[in-house]
């Protein structure tokens, strides 16, 4: 396979983890803990969309929107039921709670769906050839969805009152509260957005591969590697970190076997933490 094709494939696999990496960075920025339930949230979204797609017979785009809504509701409910009650206890308690949330969400899916491998009900389409490159329909859908969602999020963060409030809370929660920002309302919205992003990523992961209950768990390490690569807490960095990680993973198959992609992610994570813990694009003050 030529290098340009590897780059294309790498970009697409980077785009798959971009949304949850951005979501992880948002959670870390606003709530200051690493959310280990990000993978399980993706699984939940993927299966909610599957239920709408395969059982109710809706088209995949419509089903994905329903999955995103389900993901948002679940994330908001978890915030109300779990994270909000533990807010004062510090990041370590919150991150341990998030692994509890991960177990509950993943196994709720397993309870209803079982362990069998599934796929979305979509028509098989022929790959498109352009110059020397080959793009599958799935790759185009993944790229379009991720870029659209990222653009909308960027507009939301930079242009709306909610986005400004989120950034204010991430910068300085006390100051934000003093300026009359309703922390609870902003928190709820943030979790809603995080739920949408992770659920969409779940659908895209299922479209790219297959659906099974541990699909999200396998995303956790690459997602964190990407978010840390971009500087944890910085959504824009997370997007770039995801693309970079995807490309490095894909190109690394030239030297290491394909099964070792996750080890490549681990090595990158370790190197970044040792050499540049604020991330490639991070400011020094982000170092904790």
């Amino acid at each position: 396979m030529n290098l340009a094709q590897l780059l294309v494939n790498g970009l697409v696999s980077g785009l798959i983890i971009a949304l949850p990496a951005i979501a992880t960075s948002l959670v870390f920025g606003v709530f200051r803990f690493p959310n280990f339930a990000v993978g399980a949230q993706a699984t939940l979204g993927a299966f909610a969309a599957y239920a709408a797609n395969a059982l109710l017979g809706l088209s995949l785009p419509l089903a994905a929107l329903l999955g995103a809504a389900a993901g948002a509701l679940a994330a908001m409910a978890v915030h109300r039921g779990v994270y909000r009650r533990l807010r004062e206890r510090g990041s370590i308690t919150l991150l341990v709670a998030s692994i509890g949330v991960a177990f509950v969400l993943e196994n709720l899916v397993r309870f209803f769906a079982g362990n069998e491998v599934r796929g979305y009900d979509v028509a098989v389409a022929r790959p498109i050839r352009l110059l020397d490159l080959r793009f599958t329909q799935e790759q185009l859908v993944i790229a379009a969805t991720t870029i659209l969602a990222t653009t909308l999020l960027a507009l939301l963060l930079s242009r709306t009152r909610l986005g400004r409030a989120m950034r204010a809370m991430a910068d300085n929660p006390d100051l934000a509260a003093a300026r009359g920002i309703d922390a609870e309302r902003v928190s709820l919205w943030t979790w809603g957005i995080v739920g949408v992003l992770t659920a969409l990523a779940g659908v895209l992961t299922g479209l790219d591969g297959v659906l099974e209950p541990s699909m999200g768990w396998r995303l956790v390490v690459p997602v964190f590697a990407a978010a840390i690569l971009g500087g944890l807490g910085d959504p824009r960095g997370a997007f770039l970190g995801a693309l970079l990680l995807g490309i490095v993973e894909e190109v690394s198959v030239v030297v290491v076997p394909n099964e070792y992609r996750l080890i490549v992610a681990f090595v990158i994570l370790g190197l970044v933490l040792l050499v540049r813990p604020s991330g490639l694009f991070g400011r020094a003050e982000l170092v904790r």
């Binding site: 991150l95 509890g100 991960a102 362990n115």
Partner: protein, 310 residues
């Protein structure tokens, strides 16, 4: 059914040893080791490959402890320049990476098929019919030793420093102690103990394969530590016992709820573990047997003693 009780006690003892290790790392020192199962698996595979290759089982066990301790300390050094919550990610990534390695390096680990025929330290010492009971004694004896060792650590000056690492790393640094060094020590001692648990696992089953080392092992250990009360070793024993009773009791659930299949029961069990973990964090964060006595001791003497360490 006669073999059921010894098996449960043996497995509870092994889980208790792993729980004690986590209690030192997370309970006492505040290091969130989400990759506990990775170090457990490392202990199991080290002991198994060494013993299969002809190394005497007790030496293989010591080797497993040493390798798991070294790996734990090395992983903790990745957070050299960062706060402790990054260790949660790094340890989890280590465990996942190790799982992939074990699956793919079949020449060494047997891959997905696993490693059969692992010799046990009891081979040749006991007739086959006494083997279960003999292993029970070995496992419970190891649990007692690990408990005594970790109680000694908790009471030693090192234990006080580790508690400060959890509660107030900034003051610790101000006093001139190395946070990274203490983290590495806590990880190494805990690593040796969890390596022991892994080695016992390998000897007990005499056959290991990757699915035995699922992340649920980490979740059970966290549940045991939270239930018992973070930092309390006696609490941990109670917590580990309670978790095992819950897990085993849920096996009998299928007699009462015949509509559920095996997958659903397993899922239900993990939902309960996850929800239980969250519920204890919210409603009873100090656990069943909190480290009361130690808290009082810290208030009166920790000030002077911390200067005396090292």
């Amino acid at each position: 059914m006669s073999g059921y009780l010894p098996a449960i006690v043996t497995l509870t003892a092994i889980a208790g040893i792993a729980g004690l290790a986590l209690n030192l790392q997370w309970g006492l020192s505040g290091i969130v080791n989400f990759g506990l199962v990775g170090f457990y698996a490392l202990g199991a595979y080290t002991a198994a490959t060494a013993a299969v290759a002809g190394v005497p089982p007790l030496i293989a066990l010591a080797l497993a402890m040493a390798v798991a301790a070294a790996a734990s300390a090395a992983v903790s050094l990745l957070s050299l320049r960062l706060g402790g919550d990054y260790l949660a990610i790094v340890t989890l990534a280590f465990a996942e990476a190790l799982r992939i390695l074990i699956l793919n390096e079949a020449w060494l680990t047997g891959g997905a098929i696993g490693l059969p025929g692992i010799p046990s330290p009891l081979d040749g010492l006991l007739p086959a019919e006494d083997r279960a009971l003999g292993f029970l004694v070995l496992a419970v004896g190891s649990l007692v030793l690990a408990f005594l060792l970790l109680e000694a650590v908790a009471r030693a000056p090192l234990g006080r420093a580790l508690r400060a690492l959890r509660d107030d790393p900034l003051t610790l640094q101000t006093l001139g102690r190395s946070v990274v060094g203490l983290r590495a020590k806590a990880m190494a001692i805990g690593g040796a103990v969890v390596g022991l648990a892994g080695a016992l696992h390998a000897f007990y089953y005499s056959y290991i394969e990757p699915t035995q080392f699922a992340p649920t092992i980490t979740a059970y250990a966290f549940m045991a530590v939270i239930l018992g009360g973070r930092g309390s070793n006696r609490g941990l024993l109670l917590g580990a016992g309670s978790v095992m009773v819950l897990i085993e009791a849920s096996r009998f659930l299928k007699d009462f709820v015949p509509l559920l299949d095996a997958t659903q029961l397993a899922a239900l069990r993990l939902i309960l573990i996850g929800a239980g973990l969250i519920a204890i964090l919210i409603y009873r964060p100090q656990g069943l047997l909190p480290e009361h006595r130690l808290e009082a001791e810290r208030e009166t003497t920790a000030g002077e003693e911390d200067h005396g360490t090292r």
